[in-house]
């Protein structure tokens, strides 16, 4: 029996499901995840954030489809030459903002200098952000959990070495690593643009993962250290359960809560990091991304606010929604915050 099950049976969940005589049996039948989900469903903030995130995910996944339906281009002017849409670098009034009225052909207007469609770029940017953040989160979680489990369960030298490596990676400046890697990738794949795009994408994820797994690893290690001495683990060892089984069947299920929380909080972190790196010019350069658009638009805050605010607000909404959702998930999974 795991700790979570014990807690569920305990008296602490009286508010969650009033222990009336009729429903008494139902309490015993609910898994911790189920309880957490029920609590999430009642949390209005969580529901709103989840819907927002879902919409953004849909926009990102369907971005190419939406762009082709609306006939807007993220990476090229509506037709060449681009200068036919521009006056002194700004889009002409008939294409919409900043000088013209709203225009269905280009709902967010055109970008200065290149006449790319802002909405198309924004959608592809959301797609890029999610792709990077999701892959990076999955990978950091895998790496972090594995290393944390090993470090916590193996005593002595292995634990010391792993802890030292964790400290080493924590000490290494993330930004410096990203800055150093970008030109290396560029020069390595200089002559093949398609490959360069992929290389930048994966190196970005690589940088985020390499410098992002330590927090979770430490957390898991700490959890394992405290659980390792608990009776159910001792019992399993005494009856000769193999180590792998103890790790994955006894320990891991008890750490679902911290892992889910870590995932939900690192997603917005990676979205922000991707935008930040792109803003510094060391992220993706061939694929549109939100940070890149912000970098281009920063000089236009006064003259063409929509150009700047659209990606800024998108990043903000995305990060806030994911963060609040993460908070709610943590609250829902954490027995000590039961309200």
């Amino acid at each position: 029996m795991t700790v979570a099950d014990l807690e569920v049976l305990g008296p602490g969940d009286s508010e969650e499901a009033p222990p009336t005589d009729e429903t008494g049996k139902k309490i015993t039948g609910r898994s911790p995840t189920r309880i957490a989900l029920d609590r999430l469903r009642k949390d209005k903030v969580a529901v709103v954030c989840a819907i927002t995130v879902l919409i953004l995910i849909l926009l990102g996944v369907l971005a190419p489809l939406i762009n082709s339906l609306l006939n807007i281009k993220a990476d090229a002017p509506p037709s060449t030459p681009a200068t036919q849409y521009l006056v002194l670098g700004y889009p002409k009034p008939e294409t919409g903002p900043p000088y013209g009225p709203f225009n269905w052909e280009h709902p967010l207007g055109l970008a200065p200098n290149v006449a790319y469609d802002n909405l198309a770029r924004l959608l592809i940017g959301i797609r890029t952000s999610f792709a990077v953040a999701l892959i990076a989160t999955v990978l950091t979680t895998l790496v972090g959990v594995t290393i944390g489990l090993i470090a916590g369960f193996a005593r002595g030298a292995v634990d010391k070495v792993i802890s030292f490596v964790i400290d080493l990676f924590l000490a290494f400046p993330f930004l410096l690593g990203a800055l150093a890697l970008a030109p290396i990738i560029t020069n390595r794949f200089a002559t093949n643009q398609a490959l360069l795009g992929k290389a930048q994408f994966f190196s970005l994820i690589g940088v985020l993962v390499v410098f992002g797994w330590m927090g979770l690893a430490r957390l898991i290690r700490g959890q394992v250290l405290s659980l390792r001495e608990r009776e159910f683990v001792q019992a399993a060892r005494v009856i000769g359960v193999p180590t792998r089984r103890i790790l994955f069947k006894e320990l891991l299920p008890n750490m679902v809560a911290p892992i889910v929380v870590s995932i939900s909080l690192s997603l917005p972190g990676f979205v922000a990091a991707e935008a930040g790196l792109a803003f510094l010019g060391i992220g993706l350069t061939n694929t549109p991304s939100l940070g890149q658009t912000i970098l281009r638009a920063q000089g236009y805050f006064n003259q063409y606010p929509l150009y700047l605010w659209a990606p800024v607000v998108t990043v903000m909404v995305l990060v806030i929604a994911l963060n609040l959702l993460g908070d709610s998930i943590r609250d829902a999974f954490d027995p000590s915050t039961r309200r």
């Binding site: 002017p77 030459p81 002194l88 670098g89 700004y90 290149v114 970008a182 020069n187 010019g281 003259q303």
Partner: protein, 585 residues
């Protein structure tokens, strides 16, 4: 000449698009139509010489008043202010116009920069084949401590200009043209005994190894002026170069600020060119571009000016409501695409490239404003070089036009459809990435295979200068050091010893014996015939070989406050006409 932008600092010649130049309009409800900034008219880079204007003081400017302090703001700090090393547009222009005097100087006359005598009493007397120049130094010129400037001081300054080890950033014309210029290494290393500079009383005789008809222009560089012997430690002198001009250094914090105050020992009667109306200049550097633009748009401090270009987003507003506070003009730069002459051997392919290139879209994508900070053209010599007359080497090609069909036809004719074009672009500047995309799309539409090669801003110049880099087109440009074809064709088109010297500024790796000979002939021709000959060479070179094509000429758009008067564009530097500036009280 070096531009004062950091991206250029590694290379003698201008690269390509500089990040932020150009414009945007805000609250007027619509962008003003293309402003009539007329780069063509504004750009008359030093069309002439006026050896007759020898006597000071400079003629008064109507309405100009003395007094006041001019504030100058810029995003870039100053590089070395040692006259022997000042080779950036900002350092050279500030020194030669305000602080130091040299053999000759430029003055602004009706939209043109004219070369007139400065320390010398005339523009120099050459011998028949321009291998010996004689300059007589004016009496009555004083250092900022009151002592006399002698011909010996000037000779010492010239000798100092040979020292490439102490002054690696300085211009190397002395080494290139003077007798033993390649072996003499300046007074610190080779001693002061040098046969190329002979002093006799107040007369200097300069001896050349090869004909140097443009010596009077080189004489306008800060390096060809006096240096006080004994006070000239190369490590220290850059922080306080001794003044012979109207202003002297009062306080200089490198990379931060420079304050210039009047030099009371400057006698206007000895100076035919400088006015010096303001009492002082306060320059502060390291001001962010956005802040400069906001200060200028609001005009909160009327006696302020900047020599930085107005940034693209703010250009329309500045040129609309505040057009009277924006000065636009040309700088002496031509931006070109240089197909590698060794690799792209078929002239038809090179011509097809010129038809296919998206001139206007590339200007826009790089954040420049067509007709202001960039303008299209066909001559290699930019507007304003004496003797320049417009011509079109591709008669069916409209200036600045893109004709994919014609390009394709030429490629088919040459049997080279799908010809692969490789050129460098840095991935860490979004504007340059955009430019690359625009060019790539246009080339592909014209039937080329476009395979741009990615690099970083840091490596760009080095890779481009390496003759073995695996690219077949180099994008870049050349800024002339003085308005004469002699500052264009020898450096850009003369055969270079690839193994020994690398590309130099011959990015096309162009090598034709015929052109080399023509250049030599023109350099030895009478000086008054040269402008026409250079222009003829420009045309015949392009019509016969079409080695490069011009993507744009450079331009500047500088802002000033409502209290600043007399600020125009000195198009030999692309900087303000410091000599004529005055403050309205």
């Amino acid at each position: 000449m070096r531009l004062n932008k950091p991206i250029i600092a590694v290379s003698t010649v201008a690269l390509l698009a500089l990040a932020a130049c150009g414009g945007g309009d805000g609250d007027t409800g619509g962008p003003p139509g293309a402003t009539n900034t007329a780069n063509e008219e504004a750009g008359n880079a030093g069309s002439g010489q006026d050896p007759t204007r020898t006597e000071g003081p400079a003629p008064e400017i109507e309405g100009a008043a003395e007094g006041g302090t001019v504030k100058v703001i810029s995003v870039n700090g100053l590089n070395s202010m040692d006259p022997s090393e000042a080779y950036y547009t900002n350092t050279g222009s500030i020194l030669t116009n305000l602080v130091t005097r040299q053999l000759t100087q430029y003055v602004y006359v009706d939209g043109e920069m004219v070369l007139i005598p400065d320390l010398a009493t005339d523009l120099g007397k050459p011998n028949d084949d321009f291998t010996e120049w004689e300059f007589t130094i004016r009496d009555g010129v004083k250092w900022e401590d009151g002592s006399d400037v002698t011909a010996e001081d000037v000779a010492y300054g010239i000798k100092r200009s040979f020292d490439r080890a102490s002054f690696p950033e300085g211009a190397a014309y002395s080494n290139d043209y003077f007798v033993n210029g390649d072996t003499y290494e300046g007074p610190y290393k080779s001693g002061e005994d040098y046969a190329g500079v002979v002093v006799d009383g107040m007369t200097l005789t300069l001896k050349m190894a090869t004909p140097f008809p443009d010596m009077p222009f080189w004489g306008a560089f800060p390096a060809i002026g006096p240096i006080p012997k004994g006070e000239d430690d190369p490590a220290e002198y850059r922080n306080h170069p001794w003044s012979t001009g109207p202003y002297k250094f009062a306080d200089y914090k490198p990379e931060q600020s420079l304050t210039l105050v009047r030099n009371e020992f400057w006698d206007p009667a000895t100076d035919p060119g400088r006015h010096a109306y303001p009492d002082s200049y306060e320059m502060s550097f390291d001001t962010p571009t956005a802040q400069i633009d906001q200060l200028m748009l609001q005009d909160s401090e009327p006696a302020t000016l900047t020599y930085d270009n107005v940034s693209a987003p703010n250009y329309p507003q500045m040129s609309g409501e505040n057009a009277d506070r924006l000065v636009v003009g040309s700088d002496p730069c031509t931006f070109m695409w240089y197909p590698d002459y060794r690799k792209i051997t078929d002239i038809k392919v090179r011509q097809a490239l010129a038809y296919a290139y998206p001139y206007l879209d590339a200007i826009a994508a790089s954040g420049n404003i067509d007709g202001v900070t960039r303008s299209v053209g066909t001559n290699i010599q930019p507007p304003g070089i004496p003797g320049r007359e417009e011509f079109n080497p591709l008669p069916e090609h409209e200036k600045g036009g893109t004709d994919a069909a014609k390009a394709k036809a030429l490629l088919e004719e040459a049997g080279e459809v799908g010809y692969e074009i490789n050129w460098l672009y840095p991935t860490d500047d979004p504007l340059l990435v955009d430019t690359q995309k625009v060019v790539k799309a246009a080339l592909e539409e014209a039937g080329f295979t476009a395979a741009p090669v990615a690099t970083t801003l840091a490596d760009f110049s080095t890779l481009r200068a390496d003759p073995d880099t695996d690219i077949n087109v180099r994008s870049g440009g050349w800024c002339s050091d003085w308005p004469s074809g002699g500052s264009w064709f020898p450096p850009v088109f003369e055969t270079t010893a690839l193994e020994k010297e690398g590309l130099g500024s011959n990015y096309a790796v162009f090598s034709e014996k015929k052109v080399d000979d023509q250049i030599d002939t023109i350099l030895a021709s009478p000086i008054e015939d040269q402008p026409t000959l250079w222009n003829e060479l420009d045309q015949s070179l392009q019509e016969e070989f079409f080695p490069v094509f011009v993507t744009a000429y450079g331009g500047v758009a500088m802002q000033h406050g409502s209290g600043i008067m007399g600020m125009e564009v000195d198009n030999t530097y692309g900087m303000p006409t410091w000599k004529d500036i005055w403050v309205q009280q």
